[in-house]
Symmetry: D4
Subunit: 232 residues, 8 copies
């Protein structure tokens, strides 16, 4: 991987849509293709950006797309495919990289699935082989301990949990691999929309855990994929 840019030599590959400058160079510069954050975009904007990316020879990938949005976009852009669990929309004109390495993905509860799936699809698109281990919350510890061999040798371990967010502490205490914790907004009252899980994960007694924003499966997928790809 080559990072030879220098501020005075930024290659000027941008395509202006009036309201958006697509950073088409991002894939080369960061190894992460420009990803579209769907929430708050109009259907027209979504269609135009995905189309422009495809036109420039890149795959297009959007997160946080509602089923309603997806339906409209697909009408205009028949190559687009919607995944209703992760709520992501992709329009690929080139094959994805072959899966390699290993990213383990642990998830505490059924309600955390959309976030976990967003992480899975993101890491997979960036070349990671993803191993999913779902519904292994700390209140039934044996379910987790039984699966230890499946995740203890992964290049990166993503742990998705809401409520009190205790799972990453328990996992990190068992392994020697990078653990990326993803708090979710699942829970009520003192769960405070995920803030409690987030703060708990950050103040974990198990050292070496790093954390991403609440419900940010995408960010965890990117981070895990970057770690994964430099270790094989």
């Amino acid at each position: 991987m080559n990072n030879s840019h220098n501020p005075s030599t930024f290659t000027q590959i941008e395509t202006s849509l009036g309201y958006a400058c697509l950073d088409l160079d991002r894939e080369q510069r960061r190894g992460i293709p420009e990803t579209i954050y769907g929430a708050g975009k109009t259907n027209a904007q979504l269609i135009a950006i995905m189309h422009k990316l495809n036109e420039a020879g890149q795959n297009a990938f959007a997160t946080r797309v509602s089923a309603e949005q997806a339906e409209v976009v697909i009408e205009s852009l028949p190559t687009a495919v919607y995944d209703s669990i992760s709520r992501t929309l992709s329009s690929d004109i080139a094959p994805l990289p072959e899966p390699a390495g290993k990213v383990a993905l642990l998830c505490a509860g059924t309600a955390d699935l959309p976030v976990a799936e967003e992480a899975a699809i993101t890491a997979r698109r960036m070349g990671a082989r993803v191993e999913k281990i779902y519904d292994v919350g700390v209140a039934g510890l044996h379910r987790l301990l039984n699966r230890l061999p499946q995740f203890s040798n992964a290049r990166a371990i993503i742990v998705v949990a809401g409520m009190e967010g205790a799972l990453p502490s328990v996992v990190a205490g068992l392994v020697s691999r990078p653990v990326i914790a993803v708090p979710t907004s699942i829970g009520y009252g003192t769960a405070q929309g995920g803030l409690t899980a987030l703060h708990a994960m950050l103040t974990s007694c198990a050292s070496g855990i790093t954390v991403v924003n609440i419900d940010n499966g995408f960010g965890a997928g990117v981070a895990a994929a970057i770690i994964n790809r430099q270790s094989y």
Copy 2:
């Protein structure tokens, strides 16, 4: 235990000290002797209240007493005894009840000891036999699992933990007994003085946990002792 009071028949056993009405009747009414919250009291007030309680034939017990306060009080009240770990001061004129039943007391880290000890001494003074199981944080799960037989049959289980406060969830997932969680102010940054542990414990995925205030070893000790004494 008899609770036959009625608002019109409250026995008027109060002793006025000008600034304080001692509720000498509390022991009979609630089964909890009047306990003195030492923080913010002057030495003179502390001495006077403890003396008054002894004079009325009751044992005196104060929490959150600093070593400096204790030294001064003991000079005036030679029956007083200070416990420097739990920071409690007691002046007993009658023997404590025989220890009975079983209250298990789990503690996640060394720094949580003062809170755990405050809980232990409180429950013991109210008649509980207390079993201490210390330094069993979730980051080294085997330490906890090895001790399961020691706490799984207790009448009440107090779990003291700071930082992310994950221990009560793990414990409650393993037992069928009442679990009382005590968050501590140990930690920094997102630990937020114990608020994160508190909120995490309240939003635990393991059902049936109840929680007391941050660092409130005393409250947990009282609650556990009340539960313990009605089950043997």
Copy 3:
């Protein structure tokens, strides 16, 4: 009650539904049957899990089920019964345990009823005889004092209150029994969705109160039933 498990001997009674590992062993291990948290589950998931539990010979019980969800589930699972006040759905294939002991349930206002009823039904399902004492807020103290004989001899007292959450302090000052406080999200402005009642209950001047999450009638019911069943 027997708690002889050891991490290496966890009986592997789990049924995988792809997205959910049912912890069918929980009833034996914790004395609490697996309970389904309905919020955020799809109708299909709800039906599948309840059906699976019944199939495994266990009663099924779900909380936080909307009337709309319930209607759909009942169509597929005719044994299911919906309680519209507590918003719980149950599908029982075995009789509930006989009511025994005594759990008192105090409730401050009419708007707190759904939370109180969730606590009542939960405790009842776990074997407790439940005594309900409703609409006894502190602003009309005589209503509470008149009912003292009804709750002062209970094995556990659940106190449900929103707004400033003062009721548990007043109740705990009158009795010698375990008091479990349940803050509700009733109120506006500084009620802050129940956070003020929660924090008030935790910082109560009456010692020995323990607290559960905002609107967590289920958790209070479980805790009270556990305490109740070990005291008779």
Copy 4:
């Protein structure tokens, strides 16, 4: 009482000290003499302002003065008198108004005394007869109920409480008089420096309570005195 000012006719009675414009007209305009907030003032500023007020023929009164500050000021201003409980300093050159009407002052705990005394001295200086009823927390309800006749006929009732701040709700439910609640910073953990008591008092289920800032005995004293003086 006459309030005939009009913005164009503000009498220009100010004395400039460079860093402070004394509002010597305030007493006539508001019926409240300029009061000095001692915290954060240097000794030199405190002496100069009190001296200037006396020179202008007004009594001087400062709140939140530490014992150390007071000692220095008194050296330079021998007419000054320090009250160590309320932490107020006064230098009076004219007699205070005769006590009239009735302001009742209830206080939940010993630790709340400094705030209560600040309220008492403030109301007294503004002409109120003050009736003090101390150590009547809600955890021992009978202590409060026994004193009802003493406060139920007051022109204004100040209720000082820390921790969960439940006392004002209980008091307001018993009387038909104006209740002014003063939260204090007494407590720890979820007491949050008085914020919980404050928010609890504001969200009280007993209607008609008004509230002042945390530890603001002075403000409560002013408000009560204003109400008191217009009702006799």
Copy 5:
């Protein structure tokens, strides 16, 4: 006004509706008739309670009633009258008290009107003559100063303001009468649903202001009416 109750002689005037104990004695005890908080009540509950109060010979008054709720109630209870601005519903069977004394009501902006009107109607029902002075925000100071003679001689002054909540400070600096501040939830971003206005009012540099909960026009109306009625 007579306050001769004593806990043992509380007159037992309650009517049970199963879910609600009406405190029919409240008017005699507190001088405030039982008021119904409409939010969160079902139509059936609202109708039953209002009907029960009328049956007991009392006027019925409910706050926070939506237009939809009101329409349904009025169908069953033709005596009921809805005020759409204050969102209150009343069913009176006896004439209201004659207006007496003077409560001034200042309001900062048009959007604060519903809260102001709730205060006005509440104070009026409890016997106060109410003088309304609307749209006098601090950003156009002359509008306020021009109206000073209208409010400076009131028995109580209610000041309703959202956003930064500066109006009560300015008003209290001009008068010698009791000022009750009502923060509203008007504003966005850092207005934080009224919390900023609330905290600003509590920390006002003008002494003697007391404050009620966010949007609590009802509470301010009660407090002002109580102060007003004891001063004439």
Copy 6:
């Protein structure tokens, strides 16, 4: 003023001290000389940086320097001069620019002086003529209105206020000039260390106010000086 830099031509004027890269080019680039934030720097670091700046031909200016720090620095750097009110330390080797234009500086209370003086000295060093108008809080409105002619024609108006932070709203409602509000940490309880004043200023009903961080007199001084210098 010329801003012709381009990322590829950043003049490389930095002097490395190992722990600090001095941005000696900043004055040319931004028109603001590198200013030293004294808090948290060791005396040795402070001396070295100020010395290095002087050596490079620039005046040195440090904010948030304690009297103790200043004393030590001056011993090693005899050109340094300490201002004890603003807590700033300067070591100038070239004359300051002539004062020009007009920046008005309003301050609500005596306790806000250090912040106001930091703003004054900063603006003055950057070439502004500063007009100070102190102790003009909103609780005595006439003091402010009398001074209107002094500040209404300034090029920029800095308004410093703590507690409820109402002064900027009132000022901005009276003038047509840029108003920069500086919240201070003065106050207690709900003042929340200045957060309430900050949020109040940001949600002001008077449009066009901009705000800086709590106690950030330096930032306000810089902003006002920049605005001032481009308008004459």
Copy 7:
């Protein structure tokens, strides 16, 4: 610009609508015409106020108007024009001032456009020539650096950004002009509805930035226009 008012000579140009006192004098006094905050106003109020302003010979301008509201207003007031991106509604009877000076407007992301456009239209209406530079977030730094010549010589620079709000720090580090930062509510989780961007901008390491409320494009536009117009 002339600011010769004095509280006693406020010209009394107000038109009362019962619920609103229009401050028709504001344009002369502050150089800012009365602007209508549309949110929370009824259609009838909006129509009446805009009509009244036009009748008084002034242009009318309303912010935060929904498309639905706009449609209804335009039916009654055919001169009204709606801008759907900025969500503003204007009814002009006189030409706007000629654009002069230069206000640069930088915007980090597509989702921040409505806030940016509100700022643009506001500044333009007050006479500023506005230069828009959109989609220049810090994650693709070259996009920003390429545009430096376009904004480095503006009289005022508005920087609109959500999420972590880093753009203003980077911009202010490159220029010598006044920078006004506008945090937006774009983002999720720890973005906390814009509070994180707001607090980040306020604590920027680049000195001289001033900040307005979350999503307050209007306020930034007013502030920038005021600065702009006094510098040419």
Copy 8:
């Protein structure tokens, strides 16, 4: 690296000190030696634990040790060495691993040095070659861009920043490597003790950043070293 444990085969290597169970097996299980969190430990505890670790043949390393603590420990344990900038204490009986791979460490300001150095020493002890790039805050962007070649090829990049915490966003936008952000508590007012930097980093517009707790240089060092060691 081998992770073959299974809950039933946890090797029982613990040494009990009464108050602490040393997890001597941690190094083998997690590749991280037991590290001592010095804050809140007594000198006696610190000495005993370090001694016990050395006795068991392991190096001992403690973080957050004050200079005073260190001095006392070194007296009893002459092998101990204190690093005053990172505030760490180590007592090594075996050589550290050879430095390998590359961890880049960027730091925004001088005041962030202690946190950065804690990260550096931690990563180095776990075998990483560490490249330090200090004082490269975003307000002087050229300082950062000049150093790009030094950090763009690291296996892991740690970015330490306080105040608004913008540096990680800018860095992550330039590279394709794992970025671990460490917020520090540097700043005042809205910096909120590091919470603003933390939340800003979590809500970064640059994807793939992961974050640790405020001031947690140790945690970042562990995470970076784990990532580093699996990539060479």
